[in-house]
């Protein structure tokens, strides 16, 4: 059955890393896929995708008008012959017509990462201080590409707060959603990527090769050698440490703030222990 699997995540949670895995899984090569050729589908917010299906310019519409039309665009993909795997950073929200933004997908793979590690990574990506990133992660009005004075190549994406983003997807009524954690991709790749592979209805025959080809050292090696085209201009490297570094990057006050803002969701997904303290990453 054709349709869409969404690869959903809050920004800086491993979506690009997962796409390199997926590309290597689908590509029948004996070399790792070029990180500058990660054509695993589109991103939900890509203006070109919307314009092509709609037949008129979203550039002439307000962000609210565009949002109302997005479900019809994704429904149209049900007519495609093949399953599509597309990235999405939007939270799972309802439009003003009370319709899910991404209506009737085959499913959603939600990639979750410890918010203590998302914050410094997002600060680097958004070119702001860690405190500002923490504030954005707690802002229910947070959205990407929200400018109304110019024309970004992506349409507005509502993120909500980090916690709301997670819950919007994982608790969405009637949505076939599977969660994988970034930390498990790192420390237990075979079973984590294996589970994702099964969920996405893909064959397992290249699973181990794809994991090896999308190892962080391989990605960092390629980036050092030829650069990475999705890297924001002001950052030095996209594929950075990979592992958990928040203990070196956050002050105690920043850790406390994130735990205060997102404690309930962190506890639910194993990022806090029974005392409410952040867990140490397995080594």
């Amino acid at each position: 059955m054709p349709g869409i699997y969404w690869l959903a995540s809050y920004p800086k949670s491993g979506n690009t890393w997962f796409r390199t895995f997926l590309r290597n899984l689908q590509n029948d090569g004996d070399q790792p896929v070029d990180i500058n050729d990660l054509a695993t589908g589109s991103i939900a917010s890509h203006r070109g995708w919307l314009d092509e299906v709609l037949g008129f310019d979203t550039a002439e519409l307000t962000p609210d008008e565009v949002e109302r039309l997005r479900p019809a665009v994704y429904r149209w993909a049900l007519r495609e012959r093949e399953i599509g795997y597309h990235k999405i950073h939007d939270a799972y929200t309802l439009t003003s017509d009370d319709e899910p933004l991404v209506s009737a997908p085959l499913g959603a793979l939600y990639i979750l990462r410890n918010p203590l590690d998302v914050a410094p990574s997002a600060a680097n990506h958004w070119h702001c201080s860690i405190d500002a990133a923490i504030a954005k992660m707690a802002d229910p009005e947070m959205a990407l590409a929200r400018s109304r004075k110019s024309l970004p190549s992506q349409v507005r994406q509502r993120l909500l707060t980090w916690s709301q983003h997670v819950l919007s997807w994982v608790d969405a009524p009637g949505l076939n959603c599977r969660v994988i954690r970034y930390e498990d991709m790192l420390h237990d790749p075979l079973s984590t990527f294996g589970l994702a592979t099964d969920f996405l209805q893909l064959p397992r025959n290249r699973l181990e090769t794809a994991i090896r080809f999308s190892d962080f050292r391989e990605l960092a090696r390629q980036e050092a050698e030829k650069g990475f085209r999705e890297r924001p201009q002001h950052t030095e490297r996209f594929f950075r440490a990979g592992g958990s570094t928040w203990r070196d990057k956050l002050t105690q006050e920043q850790v406390d703030r994130i735990v205060t803002d997102h404690g309930a969701v962190m506890r639910r997904f194993g990022y806090l222990d029974e005392n409410g303290d952040p867990v140490s990453e397995r080594t």
Partner: protein
Amino acid sequence: MPDRFHYTCYGLTIQSQLPLPELLHAVSSVPEIAPAEVDIRIGPVAPEGLPGGTRLGPFLWVTVSSLWLQVPKVARFLVSEGREIVIDPEPGIDADSLRVFLLGSALGALLFQRGLLVLHGNAIRIGEQCMVCVGHSGAGKSTLAAGFLRRGHEILADDVVPVATDCRALPGFPRIKLWQDAADRLDIDTQALRRIRPEMEKFNYPLFDQFADRPLPVRWVYILGSHARPETLFEPIRGMARFQPLHANTYRVRYLEGMALKSEHLKLCGKLAGRIRLARITRPEKGFELDALIDRILADVAEHP
């Protein structure tokens, strides 16, 4: 009020029930003697699309001779035979919103039906020829066009650039659409400008005497794009490789499916590809060095007269 207003654009005479202030008035319209080539009127358009046609999208149908387009909460448009556009407005919609989609998608479809190659970009006059800058939405085409304007260049067409079989671009109407950000960059005060639609920070910028009102041969095409790196790339495309990018930068290329015009379109693409200088320009996403980019393009133009 007259029951029809008379205009000219893209080399066509147009009569319209809807006033179209962006367009030039027809100089000598004697409609009784020479009927207009295009008729635009308000009327019913069936809500269910085109029976027997091809459905190309949730809001789009085509047949060999017609295109049906719905812009939800704005209007339905039926474009037929390259001669007629019927607009069925949603109750309470403002005329500005109707005109945005009429002068964009609907008129673009009509130009296709007339066998023209329609490029998605801006046409800028350079001497007795013209340069067309194409690229996806958000690439910076409007900002670049406004930059050329400030340098004293004339503009033939903004957004929709039809190219005739003799490879000349046809002049549209004397305005460009300008986002507030682009206006700020060029010190253009938008206070007195009319908004494209009431709720948008995007303006009608009239060209006055900087409108090139004659068809001009297309000599240069530049494909504008952006990337997340600090350098600007300038990559000429030569030989047969020129064909595909032209096709890809056709305005609403999907309209061609089901229109029975594909072979003519491809032929015209090939013909144009054979006579132009074509290059891909990739600029940094952040920090658009507009003046440097214009200098670079003009240097390339001078090298390839």
